[in-house]
Subunit: 467 residues, 2 copies
Amino acid sequence: MDSELIARLRRDLPEGRVLTDPAVTAGYAHDEAEWAPHGSPAAVVRPRTAEEVQHVVRACLDHGVPVVTRGAGTGLSGGANAMDGAVVLSTEAMNAIKDIDPLERLAVVEPGVVNDDLRTACAGHGLWYPPDPASAPWSTIGGNVATNAGGLCCVKYGVTRDYVLGLQFVTGTGELVRVGRRTAKGVAGYDLTGLLVGSEGTLGVITEVTLRLRPRRAPEHTVAGHFASVLDAGRAVTAVAAAGVTPSALELIDRYCLEAVDAWKQMGLSTEADVVLLGRTDAPGRAGDEEAETMRRCFEEAGATWAARSTDPQEADALFEARRLAYPALERLGPVLTEDVCVPKSAVPEMLGRIHAIAERHGTLIANIAHAGDGNLHPLLITPPGDEPARVRAQAAFHDIIAEALALGGTVTGEHGVGLLKRDGLRAEVGPEVMALNRAVKDALDPRGLLNPGKVLGPRAPLGTRY
Amino acid sequence: MDSELIARLRRDLPEGRVLTDPAVTAGYAHDEAEWAPHGSPAAVVRPRTAEEVQHVVRACLDHGVPVVTRGAGTGLSGGANAMDGAVVLSTEAMNAIKDIDPLERLAVVEPGVVNDDLRTACAGHGLWYPPDPASAPWSTIGGNVATNAGGLCCVKYGVTRDYVLGLQFVTGTGELVRVGRRTAKGVAGYDLTGLLVGSEGTLGVITEVTLRLRPRRAPEHTVAGHFASVLDAGRAVTAVAAAGVTPSALELIDRYCLEAVDAWKQMGLSTEADVVLLGRTDAPGRAGDEEAETMRRCFEEAGATWAARSTDPQEADALFEARRLAYPALERLGPVLTEDVCVPKSAVPEMLGRIHAIAERHGTLIANIAHAGDGNLHPLLITPPGDEPARVRAQAAFHDIIAEALALGGTVTGEHGVGLLKRDGLRAEVGPEVMALNRAVKDALDPRGLLNPGKVLGPRAPLGTRY
């Protein structure tokens, strides 16, 4: 532990910002990525202003200590995991919504604002912030920006990067800068804003975000389908794309998830279907009716055992609630390792089949939830608590899923980020020349290598050692 | 002239790729930016494959000769202007549309494909590539990507960067690499794709582009308004934004443009209006009707002398044709220096007022066309041919417009890029720390500094000198 650094931070920051009690800091040592390694941070700092963030970064630069930035810690790839001796910079106390401007359709927020809180505030102005990761009730905009978070809406409305107009951040040399703009368009210089989005705390520490908003949309129509197999459901996804429909959500939930939700919440889903596909459209007026009907027909033609438009909004919401409950429901069964591959839409049925074969080959329980409409699959690998051989088999299955996604022209991570868990996958996906370009960018913006070192690009230095 | 380099290029590339006749190469020495300096290139090379591009870049690196990449040369900021002794790499012969995939909704194209040709090809599959710069009949996708081109549709559909999924390019060290993806989502590593978009040939030479497409949209409704002043028209723009409408186009044409079009094409526009505002909406069905009616009401309430929905598609197209003809019509009067500032939507009336004051102050004729709906104004500074004092006054007005846009929270370039003309403006907009970050990125990806040197970031080394 760098006691001089701690003393400096305590001296220069207001009371209560610096936490060093190991019982407290342990709660900030890692995100929700199962089995990703982590160490013990020297301190957790919870700044309240951009200037305090700058002070923390400068102090860490002076002392050669790594800075690991985190929002709510809901990440699933280990991107926010601390290494021994690091300073964890938590943005949770920077949670002010500074501005919501209905005319310019933008919001200016501090990084610690919770996604759902922003969405609620926007709704009060007739506005909508689309990105809706499943973690939206807890995850922060800063974390969403750092990981370029996705969600259910992406199939129609894109990802977090599509909504970030500008950023204020502290650079790897300790400068507090603004990039981007408040205008609708702008091409003045390189797109540093977009570069920071998804950089997982390795290129800068975000202190303020200017977000593009959309007007409130039309009410959604919901279509539900029951299928006898994930392959049939996958074919329905491809059929929807081929029909030219752009759903506002298209989610797949397999029977392991349905059973786990039923075991917890007694919703009676698994007695009715092996696989559920949930489609939504928010096209206004008659176009919405037509798209919903087209989706229903696509479901039936792909072999749905049952498909219907939900006329009851509460029923529709309950179905999507089951989708949201799938992950915590599965966690009740044991540790869940979450995959995040994304494949071309046409490859969804094939990829689901290969995941099934991988589960059989390794004797691993793999449940599936998927943002099926954009090919972003979340196979969930579940192991009994404490079963080490099962864990080893699950790890092997995890790597096989990555390999199969790449073989089908996909990517190793659709929306969770590289963090620690996908570093090998990234190298396999992009190859040495593009890794060198990534490294060149990292070295250019973080020349001291103290911003979340080891994440995304590696080298895979053992965590628990000091960088 | 580097005769060894020329000899090597001639020897290693197929017949006809290398042009050195000064009468021919002069046509490749500059883009359409009025008054931007340029030199005489040593050679123009027109490769036909990515491997030939790589060969050109590697040869230039070996000989320390700058590479200036260009598409159709329709740029308006000098970004494609050659320096003495440079090799101009024209992508015009790489014009294959390699793939249009309706199911994945993407296209893969070579950089020399003309924008309108791609749009036509997409339409044949029921698909749409939205970015529509005014240069669309001539400009190439490679140039559009390199400048992050905008257009009329941006107010609803965003800019070129929003449609680039992946790129193949030759790096500053001569590697041929692929970045990005073919999947709907992906967060594997830094967003190098987005970084290359808008980098104006200074970070790499693009050899292939993978583009996101949209389904064909609903037919547009057109609303036209006549106004007695640009201020009234500006107020109408703000009113449309405040009403929550998202037009698919919202264009302003002032009386100088109307008169110039009339003088050329006898359309009789300038006898009816001082300023024309053209709005469009492509919301489907009833929603489109409602949005069009809301726009018409906003026009009237802002003081339109006449406002009506166009029920005749031919009439509506004629109005937009007048918008497209404005620029060439003005060029008949003398050299036109095109501005490209973008301000917040709420600042459009104020900015138009300040432009008017600047015109008076400098005794310069400034016509205005504007993508008014997203605050992107194109003041057009016109000088009589050969009138040097008028040119000097116009230059001063150009700088004043930039200063006023910045004062109103705007940007110096909404969609044309920095090139040569906006380098001072860029520095004024972003400040020294962000300039240093831009420079760090440039040095990281182009360590030899031979890719379009001097553009965007400067230093403003005199063109005509060898780098």
